[in-house]
Amino acid sequence: MPRLLRRARGLTRNRDAIIYAILIAGVFIVPAIANFTQGTSSGVVLDQVANAGVFVLLAIGLNIVVGFAGLLDLGYAAFFAIGAYTYAMFGSGWLDVTALHHAVHIPFWILLFVGMGLAALSGAILGAPTLRLRGDYLAIVTLGFGEIVPRIFRIKIEWTGGINGITALDQPTLPVWFTGPWAGQDFGITRNQVFGLDPVPYYILIVILIAVSVVLASNLYRSRLGRAWMAIREDEVAAAAMGVNPVTIKLLAFSIGASFSGFAGVFFAAKLGGIDPTLFGFQNISIVILVMVVLGGMGNISGVIVGAIGVYFLQNVIIPQLPTWTTGAASSVGLSFLNNPNGDWAGLGDEVQRLNFIIFGLILVGTMLFRPQGLFPSQLRQAELQKGTSDQSVFDASTS
């Protein structure tokens, strides 16, 4: 028993372990709470959480590129779009109306890997000629690529549906599915279960995908490859002199990161059931994912997950809800006259809604000023910040 106690204390000292524990607990508690508080409309909550999960996947992938290997990728949305369009085109009736005149219905589970592969391949094709470039130039190339891909999807109407995108995508099916009280039914087994519009299977699937991604990404981090990435990030010349091929190693980071994005794209398209090119822009995907990674703490998987969840809910739940909350608060303290429009005043709700961009911008600036290394930087970096700088050690050596 004391041993268990000591281990528990050790755990509390380990911040990442705590984060993971809370996340795992959250995975089980959130549906229960949603069920309890929202009753039959609990699906709305799970739906939001599953959407957030897509961003978590994206952030884990981008963290490999930016956090592990130190390559700035500003076009991450492109690979996300490639994955999503892979599913939309080959997992729907869409191709019937194109010049192909034949619908292609490849199962979701296969397309998950096809989308991943295509994204990785396009990452490799883009990276091969450009990864020799200096860090910032790479960022600019990826920025350009990220702008090009959704525009091509928008222009090539005859293949992609243009601005209207592709709708009525196939819903994933499972050969076997378990039902129970959580779905309002008796316990039982269904065959060929279609995911349908029920968010529960998507929720379960994304949790599994994230769990697998976390394990695989951590494996990579603690491997020969992960060390090579860090070495390249720290000092490319020294890494090359130690036998690390910078171009191959960077290309791997870039492709693996892209494959996560493609993977997430397939899931995203399947869950949404329809996509269009406006979903894959710089301002709503590429930069947001980067913000999640940097804000959470580059290089640290658990921090990045927290960053992704935090930024997602900030953008999609908290800020959009602010008008409702403020009007509610105003009414309850007797300032309800503020809620009504009056001349230039559009009413408190509308005025607060207009502040959305400002609030998000201020939170970004404020968080970075407050914690430039992110909310949960990797343990080492934190240790470093507490220990002081290398100048002191030089001093010690010279005086001893």
Partner: protein, 255 residues
Amino acid sequence: MNEPILSIHGLTKRFLGLTAVDNVTFDVKRNEIFALIGPNGAGKTTLFNCVTGLFAPTLGRVVFDGSEITGTRPHRVAKLGIARTFQNIRLFDYMTVIENVLVGEHARMHAKLWDSVFKTPQERREEAHVRERARELLKFVGLEKHAESYARNLPYGQQRRLEIARALATDPKLLLLDEPAAGFTPQEKAELMQLVQRLREQGLTIFMIEHDMKIVMGVSERIVVLDHGEKIAEGTPEVVRRDQRVIEAYLGKSA
């Protein structure tokens, strides 16, 4: 025993107008301790960079262990068996001491992407094996106690030793040391000299740039002297010490 491990033929490196290394030719013999000396700006580090592939020489050839490596990329040169340290220490600051050494093992490892992603049994075995070896190397340079601390938090002298351990982890045949004793205390210098001797006894060839004449004269068997990019002398420490041009290069002509 006496065949050269590294031959440099007519090596020339020009930057825009400046000729940093000018038609230099010499051999480093297998299992010797060889020193390259010369005043500041003589082109010593440039020559190292040409050997390790950081720079492509303008003219001339570099032959290592029987095969030509002129202009070969740095990571290939490292794989062929040349390791180096840097004049201005270049460790991976935000990695631990042992991780720094493990990067040195990179080229000798076999884990493929698949093995790394899924932590296959082979990968685990290999990881355990290289970690064991890295610990031995750290013990060899006296850093085993600091394995888990941050490279940049080591004191200066230990950083230099870590660089040597990292270079040794690539399992080299030839070790290039660029001013290994710079900034060392006399005691650290003595330790360094012992370390170099031990490495030689284990079969390595050592090729170093060093300013400290006590070390150069104390451990090296042969010396090449560069001045303004040109080779002005070559031979045993006794020969070089008495060479008129070397004395002029160091003390100035009018002296």
